[in-house]
Amino acid sequence: MILADILTGAIRSGTSVMLASQGELVSERAGVINLGTEGSMLGGALGGFAVTVWTGNPWLGALAGGLCGLLIASIHAFLVLSCGANQLATGLTIMFFGMGVTAFFGRGFVSEQIVGFNPVALPLLSDIPFLGPILFNHDPLTYLSILLVPLLWYVIFRTRIGIMLRTAGEREEVLFASGINPKLVRYLAVLAGGFLAGIGGAQLSIAYTHAWVENMTAGRGVVAVALVIFASWKPARAMLGAYLFGAAQALQLTVQQQGYAISPFFLFMVPYLLTLLALLIVERRKSSRTPEALGKVFAGEGSG
């Protein structure tokens, strides 16, 4: 029973990170690392929450959240791609910007309450013993996010668009030669990444907590960036990593409910430490999977 709780919680609290990491994956496949994902998520969380408060419609809220995330990511795209700014430094500034802007505009929403998205049990499927309640009793955004993963895999690895995306991250000269502007591809990839991160943030505020709290993403955007590296830039593995992060958070809630005498602060740390550990394990046996343009960023040459 506890295990089922933790697994359900893994999906429920991992979805926001998962969406953000899928977005970051798209952006990194095109060769742009965006630490501003944290800012996009915060923007999405607040924008989504605000629109849900105003309209009462969580679908509009999710859309608005995505657009806020996109807007914030567009700053990153402009500074990095058009102005040649350092990717890591710009991403951090955007993270800081997101914290400042949402703290400012969010203060009126701190005590607001919404209905938002609530878990919908899928008929028949949710009656499957054990697995049913774990997999098929979630909010609509979570179902969509699960469908997104195979879709992204297909787009990235089986379509022309995917080839263009990956080429932008590996060998932009080839794109040039075939008459496509790599900068444009990268712009679109970063914006798409911001959109997904924004929806991830909105999922957090509209479907998970049903509230806006200042700086509520608490590093989930950074974790999403780390997970993409852990996942070797593969959508399914990023999903797995995100649910692992979610499981660590669910564990913390479960342990508290069961009344074990473990300090909650240790449990708070677990997801972050787990992310570090996952990175270490992957690094041990990593081949040259890193998109070439990203490798340059990590080597300190990242600009443009």
């Binding site: 914290m99 703290a103 400012f104 690094e283």
Partner: protein
């Protein structure tokens, strides 16, 4: 960069060339533009930006107390800025100043509360400073080991560890370091008054500022004037050349990160011994990030960093003025800071 402008000036005779003026103009515009954009933002909220900027300058330079407040705010930014600037010279991106400061503050408080309470100031304060540096070094050591042994990118590990550091401090102020007389509030006992840093009369400014200045000068000296500094700069500007020259790169990375952690840890100690007197979970929140931004604004130059830290200190103090004067939350100056940085990041290409 300097030699380049020199040659341009030479080729145009004794008069500064047009190119040089253009560069100055662009640099000035990059500095002014964020204040204009933020001013428009303020106007939308019914605040007169000119009044705000004037009161900002007045509160900083109007009297001794205000000037002291700005220096007080700038002190941790100088130190956490150095913690970012020094590794940057070696080609590393250390964003862990936040966590290194927190753990430095934790170590400093721990030693102050349990071991140094009865000591005279002349012995206790330096020992507490060492404890702070040690704490920062331990935290940076984690990043360094992950970098050198685990080949993990230091940017991501240092940000992740910032969150872990916050929870670590939370654990201690809720547990082993909680003040028994605090009626269950989560903060440490107050450190003994002999461990508090001496204060300049008429202000709240303490000698921690002098410590920060001395350390900035030291870092500058090492980087600019010593062989070690030269090696660090070579490593940062051309890793391949450093490899070919036979430098022990991993060892350099390790010690540069440790030194950075010590600098940020000292910032944590100064916050405790200089201002707060006790450790809270919120001690030094955001100082690490602001220091990183100050370093970026100064293009990682240790002496220019003092100026940019002062500017950020001024903006921080203005946040309080803004909150009192117009009802806007003090967090809204974070937007101004981010704008300043956006323009610097984006304008770098045109200002060179």
């Amino acid at each position: 960069m300097k030699t380049q402008t020199g040659t341009i000036a030479l080729s145009a005779g004794r008069w500064p060339s047009f190119a040089r003026w253009k560069k100055r103009g662009v640099q000035t515009m990059i500095f002014v533009a964020p204040f204009v954009v933020y001013g428009i933002f303020l106007l939308c909220y019914g605040v007169n930006p000119v009044d705000l900027y004037v009161s900002m300058v007045k509160s900083a330079f109007g009297d001794l107390y205000g000037f002291g407040e700005v220096l007080l705010k700038a002190t941790p930014f100088v130190l956490t800025g150095l913690a970012a600037a020094l590794p940057a010279k070696a080609g590393l991106v250390n964003v862990g100043g936040e966590g290194q400061l927190a753990i430095g503050a934790l170590f400093a408080t721990w030693f102050a509360v349990f071991y140094l309470n009865a000591m005279p100031a002349l012995l206790g304060i330096p020992l507490m400073l060492i404890a702070g540096a040690l704490g920062g070094a331990v935290w940076a050591g984690l990043v360094a080991v992950l970098k050198v042994k685990g080949r993990l990118n230091e940017t991501i590990t240092s940000v992740l560890l910032n969150y872990v550091a916050t929870f670590t401090v939370g654990f201690f102020v809720h547990g082993m370091l909680k003040d028994p007389d605090s009626f269950n509030w989560p903060f440490s006992p107050e450190i003994s008054s002999s461990l508090r840093l001496p204060i300049v009369n008429g202000t709240r400014l303490h000698i921690g500022f002098v410590v920060a200045l001395v350390l900035a000068a030291l870092v500058w000296f090492v980087l600019a004037k010593t062989r070690l500094g030269f090696r660090i700069r070579v490593l940062g500007s051309n890793r391949l050349a450093a490899e070919r020259a036979g430098f022990n790169i991993n060892k350099m990375y390790f010690w540069v990160l440790i030194s950075a952690g010590m600098l940020a840890g000292i910032a944590g100690m100064i916050e405790i011994a200089g201002i707060e007197g006790r450790l809270r979970a919120s001690t030094g929140a955001n100082f690490g990030y602001l220091g990183f931004l100050a370093a970026m604004m100064a293009w990682n130059h240790p002496l220019r960093l003092i100026v940019t830290a002062f500017l950020l200190g001024m903006i921080s103090v203005a946040g309080n003025t803004l909150e009192i004067g117009s009802g806007l939350p003090s967090s809204s100056v974070n937007i101004l800071m981010a704008l300043v940085l956006f323009f610097i990041l984006g304008g770098r290409r045109w200002s060179r």
